[in-house]
Amino acid sequence: MSFFKPKGSFIDNLPRIYGLYTGGFVLFIALMAVLEQFGLGADTIGILFVAFTIFIYALIGWLSRTMQIDAYYVAGRQVPPVFNGMATGADWMSGASFVAMAGGIYMGGHAYLAFVVGWTGGYVLVGTLMAPYLRKFGCYTVPDFIGTRYGGNFARLCGVLVLVIASFTYVTAQINATGTIASRALQIPFEVGVWFGLLGILLCSMLGGMRAVTWTQVAQYIVLIIAYLVPVIWMSNKQGFGIIPQLVYGDAVARIGELEVLHQVGVLKPAAAVAGVSALTVKHAASGDSVISAIRFVTLVACMMLGTASLPHILMRYFTTPSVRDARRSVAWSLFFIFLLYFTAPALATFTKLQVLDPNLATSIIGKSIADVNALEWIQKWSNVGFLKIIDSNGDGILQINEFFMRGDIVVLATPEIAGLPYVISGLVAAGGMAAAMSTADGLLLAIANALSHDLYYKMIDPKADVRHRLIVARVLLVGIGAAGAVVASFRLTTILGAVAWAFDFAMSGLFFPLVLGVWWKRANRPGAIAGMLIGLGVGTWYLYMVRWGGMTPWLGIDHLRFGIIGAGASLIAMVAVSLMTKEPDAETQAMVDELRIPKGETILGSTH
């Protein structure tokens, strides 16, 4: 198969290739649906879905293998904007977005929507402030920009440090998610699942670097978006809300409002807390009236947005487009593809809640007899693994809202079962969750390994290393970091979502202002940038430690999920103050910034550097 050999024609053929791929995947789903009718078991369907999709990704990874430096680091800078948008979508939407977001909205209501707003609006910052300028710069990695714009190995090293801390925090959460899904779908222990997931991740990225990751991420996006949309559309159709449920679920939100009164949501509190699971006590659409709840909403939004614009695995996706103009367009496409999932998540949460609460629906459980509810297959299945619990605390044999405990994370995975959809949909959702977690893990691992191999090894330790050598180092680092991530993930230190939020906070604390001001403020200089990175990271980490473990009361509701506000604030003050106190950058650097600001002309760093 001379799939990837003639470069020009491969790019020209992309719509056809991915069209065929999508058709093939739909056929596979249809085949599974037919086999289910012939009695194929749920477990086998799950295994086939996960194994088949991973096999395809690995195949793409192998076909995209390369020994060229710019193909390995920036996919040869020939990824068209729409496809780069899809790849960014997969890179971006992690296990947390796919698995946990709808569940978070289900349990947390309006307050949780701060994640939805933050994780989309961040792209406005990426598009207006950063992506086109970094593309013009022509860097391979984010520290490459820091190191060249501000000059000096120490600034570069600080960039690498922040990148590694933020991305590593994030990648352990993703490997954790792949392990969770793999262990459930393939019926293997979690610890084995983690290593299995890692193997899949490395197969996609090791041989072809950014080029392989790009083309697998496009494939993963297609799987994950189909897997997310199909159950919601199916369910809404069943409930009579039509085939574009996102537009019409206002009725369902209103109905939940009535049911909340009926079931006394927020009035009935659980008799005792149960570890790991919780009862629904928050209203769906209502928002807190206090100033502090408004502050908590906007600070979380701000953290997720500034974090988005500082996370290197996202920024480096825009290094791969053919031009500055395409980088800009690609940001818009990225957000469009991300939007498709994010505006569906609240709809999914709403429909699932309705299934559980509405006594008019056959699937409802609240208000039913506990004996009947306990007989349901999905209740038994998820209780067995400890993700769900029913306690008849008032002993009346009827399930009240405060007697039903569950982990929000299961909403997406369990929804097909709750709504009584065929097993094939559950298998599809597992494959989608796997795609989401794997694609993000790939992007993150590559960001870390590339920074270490390019910035630390090549630029600082051995500038004379030849291409072959550099690419071997990059691959060895990739495997090493992946293994370290898997080891940390198997300890399960934090929840998936907690680790994700911290990654954003670390990234914004150390990188947001050095990156933005590097483009938008000519006066920003090396000492200022170094102070910005180190003080931002230091103060942010200190605040995290104090509110999480040190017993400090958070200021104005800025808790451990939002420590980036403190870190980035310190970073801005330090960077501006130190820059103004020290000498302005030399004429050469200022000319470089001028050059950076216009799309026309050659990139600032050569195409192979």
Binding site: L113, A114, T120, T128, L247, V253, V331, F343, I598
Partner: protein, 86 residues
């Protein structure tokens, strides 16, 4: 006009566009959600408006805004002769 002057004009327009877009971004990221309790009293397509803005409204604004931004910036680049070759 000399190159230095066009370059200056180009950056001036680029900066103005950025400020306009970030102002819109700021309103739909923060201001709207600050007033969620008040907006929730208004019903929009049967949604409480505060909930709707966080679940969908702001997101739509961001997507539309980014496509618009790309178009506008491309025009600025072309007008000032700073665009890349097609």
């Amino acid at each position: 006009m000399s190159t230095a002057n066009t370059q200056k004009a180009h950056w001036e327009r680029t900066r103005r566009l950025m400020i306009i877009h970030l102002t819109i971004w700021f309103i739909f990221s923060f201001v709207v959600h600050w007033f969620a309790p008040q907006l929730n009293k208004i019903s929009f397509m049967y949604f409480p408006l505060g909930f709707y803005m966080a679940a969908q409204g702001s997101l739509v604004v961001f997507v539309v805004q980014l496509f618009l931004f790309a178009k506008q910036q491309e025009k600025i680049d072309r007008d000032c002769g700073m665009a890349e070759d097609e």
